[in-house]
Amino acid sequence: MNIEIAGENALIIYFGEQTDPATSAKVQQSVTILETELADKLIDMVPSYASLLVIYDMLRCDHLEMRSQLRKLLGQLEETNAVSGKIVTLPAYYSTESGPDLAALAKRAQLSIDEVINIHSEIEYRVYAIGFAPGFAYLGQVDPRIAAPRLATPRQKVPKGAVAIADQQTAVYPAVSPGGWNLIGLCPTPMFDPKAEPTMPVQVGDRVKFEPISRERFIELGGEL
């Protein structure tokens, strides 16, 4: 565990340098511990792949005190075998119609479109981080065979629900936004709804599996093309 200064009222804790479930589990564990133990001093936290950004109230606590509290509370984290949250199944309509980059990605990977779909939907992903936009969940790790770099020119408008790949990460765009990820399908499940409780179907630490569905089923589930 390594603690560094991030800003005037922010420290960042690094639990490792890699994307792996064990490191991610430590990040999750830490969030839970700090939520109960330091609630009065903390303003917010940002858990990510291997790090946790901790933002504190400078009028209640200085960086030295915060650092020593973090060491005390998190120094003895046990190597739990990657505690995971719930399993969430997200339906996905994979096709060249709903995924404009699917054909190019398959060609690049020297695989058929069906093979790409099978590989993408076979793996159980882990939610490593949520950010970029409200409800945008970074899922990993994508099988290296279908990993693909970001587009050279990002799209101005990625549709809501787009299932996308960038390097070894995959995600579902929660709302229409610009974006440079490779689009391979559409998911009809809303990923972020401010009026719903909970607002998101997943949280950091959950496991996600994509289930291929037909065009008809996609429409039935409320998807829009």
């Binding site: 200064i5 960042i12 994307t19 792949y49 400078m58 981080a129 970029f132 409200p134």
Partner: protein
């Protein structure tokens, strides 16, 4: 329902409270005022709780029609305030009556002004805050900037407190400012030469300067790594993307990113920077985290101890 009618919204006027906190975990950013000091003074000059909802007016051009009896104050950038066509003092609470016309002209100095009314505007909270973040479509009246015809509800209050801040306590929004930066993580990504260049050169505020971040242009800084494993980004973080031009991340930043950071600007100075318009020159000075804490605590105490002049009932 009483309140104010928006006749002209101006270039960019947003409903803001102190910001949205505790929701980074679902990807929600802070929003809130770019200039916290001017924001707090606006509420304080009316005796409001400091987190009360007000308007952040960027550049100017706002015209409101009052349908309420209350008090109103404008702080921040030098946007001429007119009530029924007569220019009035800013940093000074004024009694407003039904039928009054309130105009904020275009700024002569500074970029953000704050317009508050007694008890604040009565805006529904999204995730425990009224702060508008246009990028997320969250907060405010409908997640975006004010539009002509919008209605800003607030209660009628003729018994409110009213204060005036003496001239010598009002901030000056000068150009060519020095901005203080704490270095921290990812120092190893920048050579000593690049760091020295960053802290000894002049940068210019570009026209890509908004509530998400201020893009600056100047001598190119090279990071030894192009990207890092995505991690949380704090307010004030200075990212160096591949083109070597720094971006100072502000209230509406995305919460997670993967560009290396050369340091982080203290919040007192992000506020001063956010009062700068494109073309303004800035430079950076490295300070320690302890100095940063001292400056913050001193500014806090100074704010608490500065007594505005009570204008009476």
């Amino acid at each position: 329902m009483s309140g104010f009618k928006v006749l002209q919204p101006g270039l960019l006027t947003l409903i803001q409270d102190a910001g949205r906190f505790g929701h980074h975990r679902i990807g929600l950013t802070n929003g809130g005022p770019l200039d916290m000091q001017a924001f707090k003074w606006a509420n304080r000059l009316l005796g409001n709780p400091l987190n009360s909802t007000l308007l952040e007016v960027s550049i100017g051009g706002l015209v409101l029609a009052s349908e309420v009896d209350t008090f109103l104050v404008v702080t921040g950038a030098e946007m001429p305030l007119k009530i029924n066509g007569v220019e009035q003092d800013r940093w000074h609470a004024h009694r407003i009556r039904q039928g009054d016309r309130i105009e904020l002209g275009f700024s002569k100095q500074g970029a953000r002004a704050y317009l508050a009314v007694t008890d604040g505007f009565d805006i529904q909270h999204d995730f425990s805050s009224s702060a508008t973040v246009s990028r997320e479509g969250i907060g405010g009246l409908n997640g975006g900037k004010l539009q002509p015809g919008d209605y800003l509800p607030c209660s009628s209050n003729t018994k409110g407190q009213s204060f005036r801040l003496a001239e010598q306590h009002r901030p000056q929004y000068q150009d060519n400012i020095n901005l203080r930066v704490i270095t921290g993580y990812q120092q190893q990504a920048f050579s000593d030469v690049d760091k020295r260049m960053f802290f000894s050169s002049e940068y210019e505020v570009t026209d890509r300067a908004d509530r998400m971040g201020y893009r600056l242009s100047g001598p190119e800084i090279k990071a030894s790594m192009e990207g890092i494993l995505s991690e949380g980004i704090c307010h004030g973080a200075i990212q160096i993307p591949a083109d070597g031009q720094p971006i100072v991340l502000l209230n509406d930043r995305q919460t997670i990113g993967g560009y290396p950071k050369i340091g982080s600007m203290i919040s007192i100075d992000t506020a001063r920077m956010a009062q700068q318009l494109p073309g303004s020159k800035v430079s950076f000075e490295e300070i320690s985290i302890d100095e940063a804490h001292n400056l913050h605590c001193l500014a806090h105490v100074k704010f608490e101890r500065t007594e505005p002049e009570d204008l009476g009932k």
